[in-house]
């Protein structure tokens, strides 16, 4: 019970801190730094944040099953993920990608490679 409560409090606190940071980032140049320019290097780096961070989350999700790297055809998540990558590349559509990936996962699980 104590564990549950502290976990709950930690979720709320984390959320609040992230909320404050996010708001501060949005407010930064509008109110605080005024007209100061963003350094070119930082501007360049920011472009790579979404691909780097999101892929760093995607890869372990798809490749690591039960704590082990699984590159075999028996890894349905990996196969469905690759299907989704192909659909995302050609359709550039969030809903189509998620739909295709879900259907692929269900089919691969039924097929049971």
């Amino acid at each position: 019970m104590v564990g549950l409560i502290s976990n709950d409090v930690s979720i709320w606190l984390t959320m609040l801190v992230v909320g404050v940071f996010t708001y501060a980032t949005r407010l930064s140049f509008i109110l605080i730094f005024g007209q100061r320019e963003i350094p070119a290097r930082l501007r360049q780096a920011l472009r790579f944040v979404p691909p780097a961070v999101l892929t760093a989350i995607i890869f372990p999700e798809l490749l690591i099953r039960d704590g082990e790297i699984d590159l075999s055809l028996g890894n349905e998540w990996l196969l469905a993920g690759i299907t989704a990558v192909i659909v995302a590349w050609f359709s550039k559509n969030v809903v189509a990608t998620i739909f295709a990936g879900m259907v692929a996962l269900i089919l691969f699980e039924i097929a049971g490679f």
Partner: protein, 289 residues
């Protein structure tokens, strides 16, 4: 409940606008435009331009909202599945109000990630809002601090996208420039309202979906849908691949530190690739400066 709240908000922040009401129009003209002046502390002609800009902002946001609705619903379903309560799921949409960061946070909460790692990751992902802030700051610098504090809350990807285009367009009339922040507010509020309602719809849907469904798979799928279409040149492909491979290699590190290390490695790889062969886009930006 949301709509009265929005109306109340627009009125609270309209208070400092009193001094900006154009004085050169005859008062009879003011009166012909609306009958609600007695409870509004600003002049009618101000209201008229502000209102048309406000609704233009909502209208411009509409096509984007079509894509936001499923995204918000998926977030609601997912966050519940990740173990957040319905209240926490909805509160995150109020407090953080940033789609991709909310998805990542839900996923990291589900993995029992230490709070500090979640905060750092979300901060990294939301850093781009600093760019938006710098980009709109010349257009809002004449506004009172309170207006700017409110607008900053609405500075999301989706509101920024339509607002910056509107700011950069030539004004139809000299007065229009003075009311363009209402467009910003309109697009931001339209997105905000849609995001809150679709989160709530996702929470409702999430309670109806059987537990046996592999909903957890929504997260990597959503991220694939976000990343893949934006891999527009080889530095960003390299950033993605490096981030992915390092996160596998560093997976066994404690506190999910591998995620942070992989993120920085991916960013560094992208920058290195770009310094070796600048893409046309970057060359153009540099030549403009």
């Amino acid at each position: 409940m949301l709509i009265p709240a929005c109306l109340a908000l627009t009125q609270v922040i309209s208070l400092p606008r009193v001094t900006l009401a154009p004085a050169h129009l005859p008062s009879a003209y003011h009166r012909s435009l609306s009958g609600h002046d007695e409870w509004l502390p600003i002049s009618l002609s101000t209201m008229f331009s502000a209102r048309s800009e406000f609704f233009a902002g909502i209208k411009a946001e509409m096509p984007i909202l079509l894509g936001v609705v499923p995204f918000g619903m998926i977030y609601g379903v997912l966050a519940l599945d990740a173990g957040l309560s319905a209240l926490q799921t909805q509160a995150m949409s109020f407090i953080v109000f940033a789609g991709s960061a909310q998805f990542i946070m839900a996923q990291l909460f589900a993995l029992n990630t230490p709070a500090l790692v979640i905060v750092i990751t979300a901060f990294l992902v939301n850093l781009r809002h600093g760019l938006y802030s710098a980009s709109v700051s010349p257009f809002v610098k004449h506004l009172p601090a309170r207006w700017r504090q409110v607008l900053a809350y609405f500075l999301t990807d989706e509101a920024y996208a339509v607002t910056i285009i509107h700011y950069r367009q030539k004004e139809e009339s000299p007065d229009q420039r003075r009311f363009k922040h209402w467009f910003f507010l309109g697009s931001g509020l339209a997105l905000w309202t849609t995001w809150q309602i679709s989160t709530a719809a996702g929470i409702l849907a999430g309670t109806l979906i059987p537990e046996s469904w592999p909903l957890v798979f929504f997260i990597p799928l959503t991220f694939i849908a976000l990343v893949v279409p934006n891999l527009e040149d080889w530095p960003s492909v390299l950033a993605a691949l490096t981030g992915g491979v390092i996160s596998i290699l560093a997976f066994d590190l404690p506190f999910r530190l591998g995620l942070i290390i992989a993120s920085f490695a991916g960013i560094a790889a992208g920058m290195l690739a770009e310094s070796l062969r600048p893409s046309p886009k970057i060359r153009r930006i540099e030549s403009e400066n």
